[in-house]
Amino acid sequence: MKQLRFLGKQTIDLISGLGRAVILLISALIHIPNIRKGTPLLMQQLYSVGVLSLLIIIVSGTFIGMVLALQGYTILVGYGAEASLGPMVALSLLRELGPVVSALLFAGRAGSALTAEIGLMKATEQLSSLEMMAIDPLRRVIAPRFWAGFISLPLLAAIFSMVGILGAHVVGVDWLGVDSGTFWSVMQDQVDFDKDILNGVIKSIVFAFVVMWIAVYKGYDCEPTSEGISRATTSTVVQSSLLVLFLDFILTALMFVK
């Protein structure tokens, strides 16, 4: 009996939480934008959410590209197929690793920071202060952060893939001896703009939406105590990571399977 009640409560909590999240999203985003007031806020958030995540993206992208090249070469050389190193690396990055890994890193770095920041603003009653000053905290605090993340992540994912390919070039061509011309030309031949690059961008747009929605909702909805904030931050990283991986599977099945 107790288990059934627990299950029931969990389900109700989940659905009501989802409902609150949708209401939050609609209230924050569906309105006529105030370009004059909103743009400086957006710029500020683009810096703190996007630009400050560049380092982790570039470093991770480079290393993943380099590892891909190492592993790929080791396997391909056994079949005499090292000429395919270029497209192998490029397709892996553009289709999968770029969007997914950068979304996971972004959730961990920017997503958790946002949840903590918004949660702390809630706990110190800064959000209530804004409300009492007749300023909508959803439009002033939540919306710029959401849009900043939504714009940044696809760009960061593209940068990730790019530095990954460059890192693979350094390892494959400069170190392992694959011919540079072969590396680039086979890649150019095999990588299609619509099928590979654009699909990767669509994926990262979907991931950006999901990661930012979760981060912003968890921060806004958390219990205004230190325990509540820490739980919300952890939950942001865990839930957005899992959801990204799940959506990746769905999108891959839709996009790349005939």
Binding site: T124, M132, M133, A134, I135
Partner: protein
């Protein structure tokens, strides 16, 4: 100066307010009014929901039944934009000050002015300096909130609350956790701002001596109802035992010292079954 024959305008009228949090009733059919231009205090034991009353007046939460009139507008029934218009006439001073941590003191106070008016930066600067002078912190205008002591942060928050010259200020436990000097400063500020600017102040607190010294009218809320109200003199003379216990700060009385428990003897001495007690 207001003469005695002038009728008192009630800025806020609360009628038959009932508010529940889940199953728990916080307010059961209470009515009170806040006269314009005066300092009204709302006192009561901790956890009774005094902050909730401020949130109800500000429209942050809706009552289960009853009316809350502010300037003759019924707050729970207002649309979002009407509510935001009404809020421009109110200010709330939160217990923690709630300053925006990423801005300096100056920018914190300038914030509501920049958001709600089209005034030039020169004029805004003058206004901010005037508000800081009123709370005695003009020299602190370039500091960051993290560099302020608790008392100073509260004073800056007060300057921010009066930036747009509101009609009503709601103070949420302004005396909580303050040292005697900061307490004296806040007490003096609440009274002098109320007199000088003609503000209506609602002070929620349980610090009896401070409240008694500045309030024009007091409501004591306990057990979901208003158990006493009047001027400080009337409250002191109120014969109800609960009011007396609260005002005198007695440890035991209608609000018992001991939390409900089994009898002491039964808990200490556990009698094994079958033996003689």
């Amino acid at each position: 100066m207001m003469t005695k024959s002038e009728p008192e305008i009630q800025l806020v009228e609360i009628e038959n307010l009932t508010f529940k949090r889940g199953e728990r009733v916080i307010y059961d059919d209470i009515s009170l009014s806040i006269p314009k231009g005066k300092v009204t205090a709302i006192m009561g034991p901790s956890g009774i929901g005094k902050t909730t009353l401020l949130r109800l007046i500000g429209g942050q939460i809706k009552p289960d039944s009853g009316n809350i009139f502010f300037n003759e507008k019924n707050i729970p029934l207002l649309s979002r934009s009407e509510l935001y218009e009404a809020r421009k006439q109110m200010s709330m001073l939160f217990q923690s000050g709630a300053l925006f941590t990423e801005m300096s003191v100056f920018d914190n106070i300038a914030f509501p002015i920049r958001e709600h008016t089209e005034l030039s930066e020169d004029i805004i600067e003058k206004i901010v300096l005037m508000k800081l002078e009123a709370v005695g912190l003009r020299g602190a205008k370039s500091l960051q909130p993290s560099e302020l002591s608790g008392g100073m942060a509260r004073r800056v928050a007060l300057a921010r609350a009066i930036a747009l010259d509101p009609e009503l200020i709601l103070y949420d436990e302004p005396f909580a956790g303050q040292d005697p000097i900061s307490m004296g400063v806040i007490v003096r500020l609440i009274r002098s701002l109320s007199d000088a600017l003609g503000l209506t102040s609602v002070v929620v607190s349980h610090d009896v001596p401070e409240v008694m010294s500045i309030a024009d009218y007091i409501y004591i809320i306990a057990e979901k109802k208003i158990i006493g109200h009047g001027t400080p003199e009337q409250i002191r003379l109120d014969t109800s035992p609960l009011v007396q216990q609260f005002v005198k700060g007695e440890a035991d009385g209608p609000v018992p010292f001991h939390y409900e428990a089994k009898t002491y003897r039964d808990e200490l001495i556990k009698i094994p079954p079958g033996s003689v007690s």
